[in-house]
């Protein structure tokens, strides 16, 4: 197979694009796709500071590298989740990458700073581990981006992640989640803008980008994620993609272009109704945010009951 751009021998075939690329042209393709996503969805304006959620995996390290090579001022944030040896190893990959490139990496340690880890949180709240993990990461990344003065928070969600999440949301007609599923969530009170610059790249492209660029990432899967529903959706979608290349991109971008707006107003109403959590100040629909409730359950801490004083009636 030959490279579509320069006719040199190809190192990767992208059936969705009906193309093969050599290493140099493949890097050009990845940069072009990220730049196009940023411009198309107005993710990041010139001069803005971006915080990248970094896990030590291919997507987040690839994202950080791509943003930096596109001259975007991007720093990293790693959250230690206390998932045993896996967390220790993923932290090593994130730290080594940051050190080798001389790029700033912030760190937050969930057990050290909040007194519980993901397995604790999962058990105490009777939630699936990925649910407790996702909830904790969203809270800590949002909070760090806001308090440390960044303009946007960038996450490594790629085309395959979005296709799998969309598939799950459609299967259950989760209209609230469908309204929130978009490459950009605008800033509101208490939230910085959240952006997904990898939306036009599949996870196979991200893994290949890391191999080509010599980015050493953790290949092992998180032990808590094995067998989860999300992986089952990806397996099903990859089987469809194998028979019909381009299906995942058509599914995701068709949703953004033609369907998302039908659910977006519900989400906008939800976000407008948020109030500060009385424990930590993060935006929440209730009195105490989900992260503070999770932490209280996992650590056995009691959240004081709020006393509401009513004015005496005459």
């Amino acid at each position: 197979m030959k490279c579509r751009r320069c006719r040199a021998p190809a190192i990767i075939e992208l059936r969705r694009h009906n193309a093969g690329f050599c290493a140099e042209c493949f890097v050009h393709h990845c940069r072009e796709q990220v730049r196009r996503a940023i411009d198309e969805f107005e993710m990041i304006a010139p001069g803005e500071r971006v915080l990248v959620a970094v896990s030590g995996g291919k997507d987040s390290l690839g994202l950080w590298h791509l943003l930096r090579t596109l001259d975007i001022d991007a720093d990293g944030l790693y959250v230690g989740l206390g998932i045993g040896e896996y967390s220790d190893r993923s932290a090593e990959f994130a730290r080594r990458f940051a050190r080798d490139h001389g790029w700033p990496l912030h760190e937050i340690d969930l057990p050290g700073e909040f007194g519980f880890d993901v397995p604790d949180g999962s058990r105490a709240a009777k939630r699936a581990p990925c649910s407790a993990c996702g909830l904790s990461k969203r809270h800590l990344f949002d909070d760090a981006a806001r308090t440390r003065g960044y303009d946007a928070l960038a996450t490594g969600h790629n085309l395959d992640d979005e296709a799998a999440v969309l598939f799950g949301n459609v299967l259950r007609w989760e209209t609230g989640y469908l309204g929130r599923q978009h490459p950009v969530l605008p800033a509101t009170d208490g939230f910085v803008r959240k952006v997904k610059p990898l939306i036009r790249l599949g996870e196979r492209e991200l893994a290949a980008y890391c191999v080509v660029q010599g980015i050493d990432y953790i290949v092992e899967e998180c032990p808590m994620a094995l067998g989860n529903r999300h992986l089952g959706y990806k397996e099903a979608l990859n089987a469809i993609e194998e028979r019909s290349p381009g299906s995942k991109a058509a599914f995701v971008f068709g949703f953004f272009e033609r369907v998302h707006e039908h659910f977006a107003s519900e989400t906008a109403d939800e976000r407008a109704a948020l109030v500060p959590c009385r424990e930590c100040g993060a935006p929440t629909p209730g009195d105490v945010c989900a992260f503070c409730r999770l932490q209280a359950r996992a650590t056995g801490r009691t959240i004081p009951v709020r006393v509401v004083e009513h004015a005496e009636t005459a």
Partner: protein, 67 residues
């Protein structure tokens, strides 16, 4: 040839099939879910294989809630 599989990491010694596509078919691996790295270089599905090759089949699907 030697085939390196991941998650968990293990190695197989197999007779080289004619190309990567045939290797993936024999191992019942969906090509969309992996990268194939032959002697430290990425290769496409039509790449020819030889008995002295070392081929890593690296999964690319991650299942956790991404950050």
């Amino acid at each position: 040839m030697k085939v390196v599989l991941r998650n968990p990491k293990r190695e197989l010694d197999v007779a080289a099939p004619p190309n990567v596509d045939e290797l993936l078919r024999r191992l019942d691996v969906v090509p969309e879910s992996v990268l194939v790295i032959r002697n430290d270089e990425l290769v496409t599905r039509d790449a020819r294989l030889h008995d002295d090759d070392v081929v890593e089949i690296r999964p690319v699907v991650s299942g956790g809630a991404n950050p």
